[in-house]
């Protein structure tokens, strides 16, 4: 009986794959454009033309921004809680970080929309002033008056994936043998030197896989991104300007108005997202497992 219950996990995963493919294929057959290079999403037109180029670009962009911002902070917080904070505070602080994970994504969306975006104007103009030469950070206020941009979405995503990266990193750091830390301290190492010599080398693989898991979360996050990006099915290389759709936000936005082909097209987009996160999670798993053997 317990084995049968475990079978449900495999069955569910198989069913997800089969049903999504089964419903996506007819829509993909009828697609007049190249699914991988078309940016527009006109799935219910005649002939239907839709593609995931824009969604792929913005999904990867927002997640990449999130990872770049979240990983250093998360590792810093993990180090702080484990090694810098007073011992009595550390479990309370850990609970606080878990609280961040408990906030529903829709609340992050609301907060990003009403609070964060309007407050980012200063940062965005500053980035434009000093880093405008990178082109990607160039900012024209008239084209993005509200800061509902991939950068804002990336920042909110970073806050959302911070807890998972932080808690996994903490777990990994805790597994470092005490003797190693004490040995480093006995050599007269300062706290940072102890961490660099004893903790980080052993924790590196764990931090990498934690980051990949965080990346998986960011890729599939729906509501916050949907609320923060104003829909635009065209690739815009300026990070701080309005626009963008991700796989998840296409589904959330277009779902209500989709006809038969449109629904199939959305399922195809969902399938892409599914495969993308699957690949990412498998990668994280492989790293964890390889590290366990070593």
């Amino acid at each position: 009986m317990t084995a049968a219950a475990s079978g449900v996990v495999l069955l569910t995963m198989a069913a997800i794959t089969v049903f999504l493919i089964y419903r996506a294929v007819p829509a993909l057959r009828g697609n007049a454009a190249n699914f991988f290079t078309e940016q527009r999403w006109d799935a219910d037109g005649t002939p239907p033309r839709f593609g995931i180029a824009a969604a792929f670009y913005f999904t990867v962009l927002t997640s990449a921004i999130a990872i770049v911002l979240a990983v250093p902070v998360a590792v810093g917080v993990a180090l702080f809680i484990n090694y810098y904070a007073p011992r009595r505070l550390s479990s309370g602080l850990g609970y606080m970080v878990e609280l961040l994970a408990a906030v529903p994504s829709i609340v992050y969306g609301l907060w990003g929309f009403t609070f964060l975006a309007p407050h980012l104007t200063g940062l965005v103009s500053w980035l434009d002033r000093w880093f405008g030469w990178t082109i990607v950070l160039r900012y024209r206020p008239e084209s993005a008056p509200n800061n509902y941009s991939p950068l804002t979405a990336g920042i909110v995503l970073a806050i959302m994936i911070l807890p998972i990266i932080c808690s996994i990193s903490r777990e990994v750091f805790q597994r470092v043998p005490r003797e190693q830390i004490e040995a480093a301290q006995a050599l007269g190492a300062y706290r940072w030197e102890t961490i660099r010599m004893a903790v980080l080398p052993l924790g590196r693989a764990g931090v990498i896989s934690a980051s990949i898991l965080g990346l998986g979360r960011a890729l599939g996050e729906t509501l916050a991104v949907t609320m923060l990006l104003s829909t635009a099915f065209a690739i815009n290389i300026h990070f701080t300007e309005t626009g963008g759709v991700t796989f998840a936000s296409i589904i959330a936005l277009k779902y209500g108005e989709a006809g038969p082909t449109g629904t199939g097209a959305l399922i195809a987009a969902g399938l892409c997202l599914f495969l993308l996160t699957l690949a990412v999670n498998f990668a994280a798993n492989v790293i964890v497992r390889r590290n366990k053997v070593a």
Binding site: F80, A102, T277
Partner: protein, 366 residues
């Protein structure tokens, strides 16, 4: 040769004969540095067109770290300076993480508290114009509670059984290894994909309607791997001695599991299930596809025919009201969204608090 001579001391600490405490930045140096930096930055802000609290804090913080590092390099040597620098960075990272949490809590309470009263909690939106004040979210609270309860009823037994299989029967079997891998992978499947899957399978292929039940099915799939992982961890904590003692008494395996292993791990397993419940209570994406828009109170999760509209839920209500407000952050629907968000957060907070209490209670009982 003494031990201290074997270890190379940082520059300036052993040569002058004053021992380990020699030539550090004194106790007052950090405060003095901070004061000087603050004064300089204030002068800078007065003299140039820089303004605003965030940039002041950023520049002052950066200036302090810089000054401290330079001082430390000069007086204490490179190693100590690097240590101080990293310490400052780690503290900064912690503040960078704590700030959004505080801001979100503060802002949600500030925006949400205005509308939350007894009427709001006990009335539905039936025959209320969402553009105006009035109405409440009772129908959504009812929907969320019923859907989450249904999902837990589906996912908790399955999850615990799977965990028992993995811990007690799996033991290096190929099937168990595969299940183990797929539990990990399942944890990472985005919830919107789960919603899309239920939409495809349940609604498109099997021909059912949107309903609270469809939402609960998706929530159950999201919840399943969470339950499995936490229950598995708890079962692994049960010492093997207990199992062996039961075997020695002649108890068969199933008996050992039901009367020794499970009771021992019960507190932890319940905590894990409740934390998983707290996680899915705020899940929005799958419900968006599966649960309908409904202004009335609907206790029946199976409702979804033409006559009865499918159950509402809290997260979808928030998203709907957000949509109705159409970007006008002062409109009544937007305030309603914030108030509903506050109620949702409190609900989730209560659930995880209860989970913590169960965990503590179980630990003292043992």
């Amino acid at each position: 040769m003494t031990v201290t001579q074997l270890v190379r001391r940082p520059r300036g600490s052993s040569s002058d004969g004053r021992g380990l405490l020699a030539r550090g930045l004194g106790r007052y140096v950090p405060y003095a540095t901070a004061a000087v930096v603050l004064a300089l930055v204030a002068l800078l802000f007065a003299g140039t067109d820089l303004n605003g609290m965030p940039s002041f804090v950023a520049i002052a913080g950066l200036g302090y770290v810089l000054a401290q590092t330079v001082l430390s390099v000069v007086i204490e040597g490179r190693r100590r300076a690097v240590d101080r620098l990293v310490t400052a960075l780690v503290y900064a990272a912690f503040m960078a993480a704590a700030l959004p949490l505080l801001l979100i809590c503060w802002y949600t309470i500030q925006r949400g508290i205005a509308m939350v009263d007894l009427t709001f909690l006990t009335h539905s939106m039936f025959r209320v114009n969402p553009q105006e004040h009035g109405g409440g979210i009772y129908h959504a609270i009812v929907g969320t509670l019923i859907q989450v309860a249904l999902a837990s009823v589906l996912a908790a037994p399955l999850g615990i059984l799977t965990a028992i299989y993995l811990v007690e029967y799996g033991m290096g079997r190929r099937f168990a290894r595969v299940v183990n891998l797929f539990v990990d992978v399942m944890t990472g499947v985005p919830s919107i994909v789960v919603g899309l899957f239920i939409f495809t399978a349940w609604i498109l292929v099997l021909g059912f309607n949107k309903s609270g039940l469809a939402g609960a099915l998706a929530l159950a799939i999201v919840m399943l791997p969470l339950v499995i992982r936490s229950a598995e961890q708890m079962l692994r904590l049960v010492p093997d001695d207990l199992r062996e003692a039961a075997y020695a008494l002649g108890a068969p395996k199933w008996r050992t599991i039901t009367s020794v292993v499970l009771p021992t791990a019960l507190g932890g397993v319940v905590t894990g299930v409740m934390l998983a419940v707290a996680r899915i209570a705020g899940e929005t994406a799958p419900l968006l596809l599966l649960v309908g828009i409904n202004q009335r109170i609907e206790f029946n999760p199976f409702a979804g025919q033409e006559a009865q509209r499918p159950q509402e839920s809290l997260p979808t209500l928030i998203f709907e009201q957000f949509g109705v407000a159409a970007g006008n952050t002062d409109a009544p629907p937007f305030q309603r969204a914030w108030s509903a968000a506050l109620v949702l957060i409190i609900l989730i907070g209560l659930l995880s608090l209860m989970a913590r209490l169960v965990a503590r209670f179980a630990r003292t009982a043992r």
